[in-house]
């Protein structure tokens, strides 16, 4: 895909634009295609700017240092003898089989990637399905190969072909294997600088909170989720009633959409061919946000009876993680498997930010705003929160208010780089559009220094933005709820704005749905999710003023709605 489309104003680049372009510039034409105009502009800026020259020198130095490692000792040696014999000998030694070794998990003696020495963690002991506390072996070292192998070897394990066959069958059907019991895990509680923590580490809790039924995902059949029942629409594989709040894609062929249905939490998985409802969940719970770190590291957050709900998929099973704080959660953004942020809302204290780091949770009450909805994190120093009139940023472990004069409510944020971010939402009344009821959308861009309002001169209708996603820095989408146009009096009407060639413009088609989330896998493919109205619905419109929640509330009157962007158009998903 195209890297940058900033050629239109190349003659007058500012420092930040130059710095954005420096990596591509440093790596030359062969590595990152860069238009000649951009190269000339960068060069002319560099010629007269000492600060950017220093920055360029730093990047050049880092580049030279890193490239020096390509010639690391041993790397340039002649081909060494093949490892094949040694590998086969080790397999033979360990009886060839270990059911528990997942390619996506750490070595057996380091069960969790981010290990905290001496701290108790709970991992699933697969054969028994029970949780057992494990401890790191202080001397345990990956090089100690005999221990590693012996520990995981199991006698008589050759008889695993039924398992193998079953696994293959499951792969063929394209169904997620979820077996065993639902368990509860507890993470320790930590605190960071400038952060008020709540309590001491909770004691571990174990025990099933519900039994998962066997996989039965035949569309149209009545299925149980925990003790509850949900009906799946045969046309979509999604529940007939419910709401989707968010979508996240790991790759073009692996993604998750979350929300709520009549049974409780709704999790749907896309396997490259179709969406399917997963038969797991928390009764009466709802999910509002999902983050995909990797295929085996998916997080979803929401609430169950005003309490926090955090769910995690580790490549084997979804688990509910019991967290040491009480707050309905509306947003999550992970920057790695070990670190991320969540945004919640408490009855008593208003918005709270939760920081997850290496298995520890810490919370901070946001006093700067009473109304926070949007969250985006890229690095520990590039975490943003948007709320009513407000944008906050975390840097060096501290949150600060960057803007408190925004004329509207920030409901969506996305970060492409530390110097390229977008905020969307609902503008205040003064920015009312010419037609339709309600107010106009809010869209702002961050260039590393300033947030500035986007040019929306081609957007003539009112609407509110709930989701933002970019397939590349020059192509993105904002989705939400728009005012009805023409004769349509449908309650929910989609609002879709596309960003291309440096311009936002409305997408030609309106769909009878409110769109809550969007996730692009590239500039040419993506998904948007939300909910449509069921006949006779009486859903109230969250439009016309500052809205109370970032996503429309789920009622029995709505149905999950999925749009697929492909071949330059959005279409209602049909498998």
């Amino acid at each position: 895909m195209s890297d940058r489309d900033e050629t239109h104003h190349m003659s007058e680049l500012d420092h930040q634009q130059v710095r954005d372009l420096l990596t591509d510039y440093t790596y030359g034409d062969a590595r990152a295609p860069m238009e000649a105009a951009a190269r000339v502009a960068v060069e002319s800026h560099l010629a007269s700017c000492a600060a950017c020259q220093r920055e360029y020198a730093t990047i050049l130095r880092i580049r030279a240092l890193m490239r020096s490692l390509a010639e690391s000792p041993g790397a340039a040696d002649e081909p060494t003898p093949s490892l094949a014999d040694a590998v086969l000998a080790r397999l033979h030694e360990s009886n060839f089989v270990d059911e528990d070794t997942s390619p996506f998990l750490s070595t057996p003696d380091v069960p969790v990637a981010a290990w905290i020495p001496g701290e108790r963690r709970h991992v699933m002991d697969r054969p028994s399905g029970a949780w057992s506390p494990v401890r790191t072996d202080p001397g345990g070292h990956v090089r100690n190969r005999s221990t590693t192998v012996e520990k995981t070897a199991r006698p008589n394990a050759r008889r695993t072909y039924p398992t193998v066959a079953a696994a293959l069958l499951v792969v063929l059907i394209g169904v997620l294997v979820v077996t065993g019991l639902w368990h509860v895990t507890t993470a320790g509680l930590g605190s960071g600088p400038g952060i008020s923590s709540t309590s001491t580490p909770s004691p571990s809790q174990t025990g099933p909170i519900g039994t998962l039924p066997a996989i039965n995902n035949v569309p149209g059949t009545v299925q149980t989720v925990g003790q509850l029942v949900v009906t799946v629409n045969p046309a979509t594989g999604l529940p007939t009633q419910g709401t989707l709040s968010a979508v996240a894609m790991v790759t073009a062929n692996d993604g998750y959409a979350v929300g709520t249905d009549t049974a409780g939490t709704l999790i749907a998985h896309y396997d490259g061919t179709r969406w399917m409802t997963l038969h797991i969940g928390v009764p009466n719970g709802s999910l509002s946000s999902v983050a995909a770190v990797a295929a085996n590291d998916i997080w979803a957050v929401g609430s169950v009876q005003q309490d926090a709900l955090v769910m995690h998929y580790d490549g084997k099973a979804w688990q509910r993680i019991v967290v040491p704080f009480q707050s309905a959660l509306q947003n999550i953004s992970m920057i790695s498997a070990n670190e991320g942020w969540m945004l919640g809302q408490t009855e008593a204290h208003g918005p709270i930010v939760v920081h997850y780091l290496n298995g520890n949770w810490s919370t901070l009450n946001l006093t700067a705003t009473s109304d926070a909805h949007a969250l985006a994190a890229l690095t520990p120093n590039d975490v943003w929160i948007g709320g009513y009139g407000t944008l906050l940023r975390r840097q060096n472990g501290q949150w600060s208010v960057i803007r408190n004069d925004i004329n509207g409510n920030v409901l969506a944020l996305t970060m492409l780089s530390p110097t390229d971010a977008w905020a969307g939402g609902l503008a205040n009344g003064a920015q009312k559009r010419a037609s339709g009821f309600g107010n106009g959308p809010l869209l702002m861009h961050y260039d590393g220094t300033n947030w500035t309002a986007a040019n929306l001169s081609s957007v003539k209708t009112n609407g509110v933005i709930y989701g933002l996603s970019f397939g590349s820095s020059s192509a993105g989408w904002a989705v939400g709820l728009g005012a009805p146009t023409g004769a349509s009096q449908a309650i929910s009407n989609s609002f879709i704005l596309g960003y291309a060639n440096g311009q936002w413009s409305p997408y030609a088609t309106q769909f009878p749905a409110v769109l809550a989330g969007v996730a692009m896998v590239s500039a040419s493919e993506g998904w948007a999710v939300g909910s449509g109205d069921l006949p006779g619905s009486t859903t109230t419109l969250p439009i016309g003023g500052p809205v109370a929640t970032a996503t429309p509330s789920a009622t029995g009157g709505s149905t999950p709605y999925v749009l697929h962007y492909q071949n330059n158009q959005w279409n209602v998903y049909a498998p």
């Binding site: 990596t23 590998v87 089989v97 990956v142 192998v149």
Partner: protein
């Protein structure tokens, strides 16, 4: 019947065929897979860890783990030249990062960074500094970010090449590389300050 390399198929089908046989216990097929990938993985892990012997050990670990989990492996949606590559790189990256983080939690000092044979033409000091920077950056990154960092900044691969290798989109690679540079730059500036003060 022992597995033999089919003569006239393309790379993808040949590899898929070998995988299929390896799943069913055919050692000759698995041997072919090891030989197909071992040099690439050793080079990659050597760049990441700066220790050729350690890289060989971890490559072995990677193949042992890969063999055991092979029945659960899912082929890519679209045939690519090296269907097993993304998966093998993930196992290798995960293990290398576990090792790096383990060393860190054991409070090993960076003095222990080993650079036994300085490469002619490149200062010993540079390689030590580079190794420290890389390790510090890697510690803070996710597996995929780390893999993109090493493949782009150290191995000098293009976004497209990395995307194929790791089964990611080009844009995802670009974002991960950008995060990698942020981490490297932070480590570099911290080190620079340390040296000056």
């Amino acid at each position: 019947m022992p597995w033999k390399r089919p003569p006239e198929e393309d790379e993808y089908s040949r590899e898929m065929d070998a995988i299929h046989h390896a799943i069913h216990g055919d050692q000759a097929a698995f041997r072919m897979l090891v030989q197909l990938y071992e040099q690439r993985l050793i080079a990659y892990l050597t760049q990441m860890l700066g220790d050729h012997e350690l890289a060989r050990d971890l490559t072995q670990e990677t193949f042992v783990a890969a063999y055991r989990a092979l029945p659960r492996w899912q082929p890519p949606e679209t045939p690519t030249a090296s269907p097993l590559a993304p998966w093998l790189y993930r196992i290798a990256t995960n293990r290398a990062l576990s090792l790096i983080r383990q060393h860190h939690t054991e409070a090993m000092s960076w003095d222990a960074v080993r650079v036994p044979f300085p490469t002619p033409g490149i200062g010993l000091e540079d390689q030590v500094v580079a190794r420290i920077l890389l390790r510090q950056a890697l510690e803070s990154l996710s597996d995929d970010d780390a893999a993109c960092l090493v493949l782009h900044f150290v191995a000098g691969e293009r976004y497209g090449e990395i995307a194929t290798r790791l089964g990611l989109t080009g844009e995802a690679v670009r974002k991960r590389v950008a995060r990698g540079l942020v981490a490297l730059r932070a480590a570099y500036l911290a080190l620079d300050t340390e040296v000056r003060s």
